[in-house]
Symmetry: C2
Subunit: 589 residues, 2 copies
């Protein structure tokens, strides 16, 4: 066993080539141990084992600095930099974040989870080095479709003209993004692969960069030779290496999209070991609605920045959608602007992705869509604190980011009926840009919502139960929490509070709030996101000079990381019992 003896890259450097080849297999076994049990990014990491060994053999980390894009392909790096326990030892899994993380190791420089950042971050390291007179190598690693993101393309252009010093970009070309590739640049990568890098049609050279192609990206010896050739190079160079995504596991080599990221699975069968039960899910409701809509509305077009799985659009459904489906590749800005154009020319665009990734297109939403007030529908997944809990993937900032853009109608449904009615209304109306939050909780059904098919009266909240003294304004997937709080108040305090489903996260129903003043003394707001800049603060401001008391419940403005959702709610004083206790105290009971 070699891996057990490797506590830092220095230990790796003592090995011979055959020993390193054996090490590669041990590393794959370590990856299997972790990924079969807790899941994670599979394909990119299995493909990068040999190249990573060679990187650490040739370069001198952490003096020489690696930046791994999205961290998709950083597990092998972690194994070699003192973090093998997080893979070999089940008791230590939690110590490893699954992303590069400077808090874990001096060999990591950034906590990274969004795509397309490595070249620009590394260019900054290089510029910093140059200003300070340093001499180390700076290496950016990028692959898996990240190259088509604007930040990466901008940075290629910057590196191609503004850096005149050591800078190494490793383009890990495993022939695929997360799903299939989309974007002209991937056609160019293919052409370069086919010509062994010799085609004169070369995007990297066109950006002003030196370029070397290496076909044998899974050959440690070839990789060592390549990296030795460019070590201490005095100008920016792109190393285009061809690797096999998922190498070492037949199902992953065969079905690359399914194995980009995996849930815990059984190694023998390749089947997930997670039992989802057979309950309803928005993950099933959503693609059903999309397919029905597309069939009856030829103007309907689904656009995604490489996140079809975000709404359950598996390959068969994408094929069925045909020209009504447009994956622009990882390119959130273009995705939003393309939707603006489709809407302007009479189409009915639906943009789908995860909330955290839509942040990348704040300006396009504001300028391209909302200033022009175009009827683009944006459907967001992972909008809840109870979803992805990695610090780089939190959906909790979306309300603060998107509810303060003029003209944008942000809708927060509380049940399946309301969700589907909002979708249909949004696609059919021609007056507003709309962002719809897919609820992060289980699927609820509320027959009272079924008949409300229009949301033309913007910013009108729905009084679900008219009561007195206390009004509970419970937004979106926190509506059921609001119901529980209302029930607890009634039971403990003997009066029926008013329960409100605001529906519109982006506006204040001034008329209703004004009316509440008559027979209410306290309004509490519940929202699934940070309160700072979000929904409830707007209501607190509205009541600022009145006698109404307002308490906003939500998350703090904070980068939470890998938390326990239920525990966090308790810590924030947001359990039903804690909220009831607050209400009692405020009412002096």
């Amino acid at each position: 066993m070699y891996l057990e003896k490797i506590n830092s890259p220095a230990d790796l450097k003592k090995l011979s080539l055959p020993e390193m080849t054996a090490l590669a297999e041990e590393m794959r076994e370590a990856l299997f141990n972790r990924l079969t049990k807790i899941g994670g990014h599979f394909g990119p990491n299995f493909g990068m084992v040999e190249a990573t060994i060679a990187l650490h053999y040739v370069f001198n980390s952490p003096v020489d600095k690696f930046v791994f894009d999205v961290s998709h392909q950083s597990y092998a790096h972690k194994l070699l930099t003192g973090r093998k326990a997080g893979y070999l030892d089940d008791a230590h899994f939690a110590e490893d974040s699954g992303y590069t993380n400077p808090d874990e190791s001096k060999h990591d420089f950034f906590n990274v989870g969004h795509t397309s950042t490595s070249i620009a971050l590394a260019a900054g390291l290089a510029k910093g080095r140059d200003v300070l007179g340093g001499k180390e190598n700076i290496i950016a690693v990028i692959g898996d479709g990240s190259l088509s993101g604007g930040e990466a393309l901008e940075a290629l252009s910057v590196a191609g003209s503004e850096l005149n010093s050591n800078f190494i970009i490793v383009v890990n070309d495993n022939e695929i993004a997360i799903a299939e590739n989309h974007g002209g640049i991937y056609k160019n990568l293919k052409e370069l692969r086919k010509t062994n890098g010799k085609s004169s049609n070369n995007m990297f050279r066109a950006f002003g960069l030196d370029y070397i192609y290496e076909e044998n990206g899974n050959d440690i010896g070839a990789m060592i030779a390549l990296f030795e050739k460019v070590k201490d190079i005095d100008h920016p160079v792109v190393l285009h290496i061809h690797t096999l995504k998922g190498k070492g596991y037949a199902p992953a080599e065969k079905n690359k999209e399914a194995w980009h990221w995996t849930l815990p699975f059984d190694r023998a069968t390749g089947k997930t070991t997670v039992n989802f039960g057979d309950g309803e899910s928005y993950g099933a409701i959503t693609p059903n609605w999309i397919m029905e809509r597309a069939a009856k509305d030829r103007k309907f077009v689904v656009v995604t920045p490489a996140m079809p799985a975000s709404v359950g659009l598996v390959p068969e459904l994408r094929v069925k959608l045909g020209p009504q489906y447009l994956d622009v590749g990882i390119a959130e800005e273009a995705a939003v602007a393309v939707c603006a154009g489709i809407a302007k020319n009479g189409g009915n665009p639906l943009l789908v992705t995860n909330m955290t990734f839509l942040q990348r297109a704040y300006d396009q939403i504001s300028q391209d869509v909302c200033i022009n007030n175009l009827p683009v529908t944006m459907l967001m997944n992972y909008t809840s604190f109870d979803g992805l809990t990695d610090v780089t993937h939190l959906g909790i900032f979306g309300l603060a980011v998107f509810t303060n853009i003029p003209n944008l109608v942000v809708l927060a449904p509380t049940c399946a009926e309301e969700y589907l009615n909002m979708l249909n209304w949004s696609i059919e109306q021609k007056s507003h840009p709309v962002l719809i939050l897919i609820p992060g909780n289980e699927v609820f059904h509320r027959s009272s919502c079924a008949e409300e098919k229009t949301f033309d009266a913007l910013d009108t909240y729905k009084v679900e139960k008219k009561g007195e003294k206390v009004a509970v304004v419970a937004l979106g997937d926190f509506y059921q929490k609001g119901e529980a709080v209302a029930a607890a108040i009634k039971s403990a305090l003997g009066f029926e509070p008013t329960l409100i489903n605001p529906r519109f996260a982006s506006g204040v129903d001034k008329k209703l709030l004004e009316e509440l003043k008559k027979d209410h003394v306290l309004v509490i707001t519940l929202e699934d996101g940070i309160t700072s800049g979000g929904f409830g603060e707007k209501i607190a401001s509205f009541y600022g000079i009145s006698n109404m008391k307002v308490k906003n419940y939500g998350l703090e403005k904070k980068f939470y990381d890998r938390y326990n959702p239920a525990g966090l709610l308790k810590e924030l004083g947001m359990t039903t019992e804690q909220i009831l206790a607050d209400v009692k105290e405020i009412l002096g009971k």
Copy 2:
């Protein structure tokens, strides 16, 4: 006179080539008439006259659809589409926004003022056309450095693989961005110009696009021939045309940067007719500070996404900064990430641009800088409602966008002394990302601020005058307004209110606000931006369940366009008199 007879492109199509050549000169005279008197984008428009005539001669607008990037080069288009009065007739100048605007004409499809959007917007028009079965030509026009922006590069890649239908991209290459070009792709444009488009090193082909070069971009006949060649083409094509920026005015042809955009000027001398007086300005204080800082701190690096003029960095100063200056070209995302990298490697980066453009890098600020808590200083110009008033260039959204990002310290200085102390503190500290708002009002001096050189105690507001009953919390460049309100209250109501300079726009000073409860009944907040999601709402939320009354003053969540700043304040009830009247009413006096 031909121009007078042209009310739509149909009138243009009746002209002969010699007549169109005469028309071009008349159009330049019309541009002179407007630009000498009210200023605007000069160089790009003077260079695009011939190409625009040819576009309208060959294509059938508005069935065929043009999208002009940033609208920098759309004036000639406006002259030919029924809006000549906005150029010929001084009384009608205000009817023309200076940007493309669908409210002005059916020949415009988007209100555009940020760069790099045209290709993606037009790709969306093309996709919409294809889904609806249309046949029209879709033409995107881009130039002046916009091509290096991520949204444009993403869209080139999308067009290069996902559109298999008519799509025409006109790259108007006038050899320069706003300032000099930065970015590897501009080296490629140059190589293509030098080889008459024949170099096999071609970024557009590398993105999967067809390509034609035309050297004579200012020759109407050559342009007509070019456009006729691609009219109704069945696939995407790039037309790379070489034009002369500022053509027809010697000073503009000579000094392209100075004449990209101009203030009103005297045609004979080329000198501006605006008298700035000789008072102090932040526009002079800022570059002075930058140059001093750079001289004594070799780790200090100024990074800008092509907006050096935003902080007065004229060409001579940029040359003097040498390696301590990095213009990444129009590439806001890369600019922010590069700063993260510089900070991580020990440098002291200062990012400079206009607030409205920093919106493009929301995600990079959140993920690359703030999750990693890196000491990047971002210095923003045009942060005030009383600055740029075009709907696409408003600084009023910045507080809502940036004060809700965890870890980011947003500082709002109230005078020159505080401004400089904040800059020095921010560059010297290593614990926080910081965004500093350049005040939008005149330069004030307050000696009480001179000695406060550290801002380590985050979110501590400064009590400028301790009083009673009413607290006026006046943020940043609204501090002087707060002083006036406080004075009016004292004079009218006979007591001294408390006057607070919060300094930190991104946090709540809970201790101080708690203390105010003892002897205050009303807190008013004043902020230079929309209140929705901004500063004051956080304070309203803090006091939600207390007896303290809170009134938030600021702008509405709205896309204001070309307003009169003083008039707007009055409309919003924000004059000193109106605020005093509110205070009286709330206090029941």
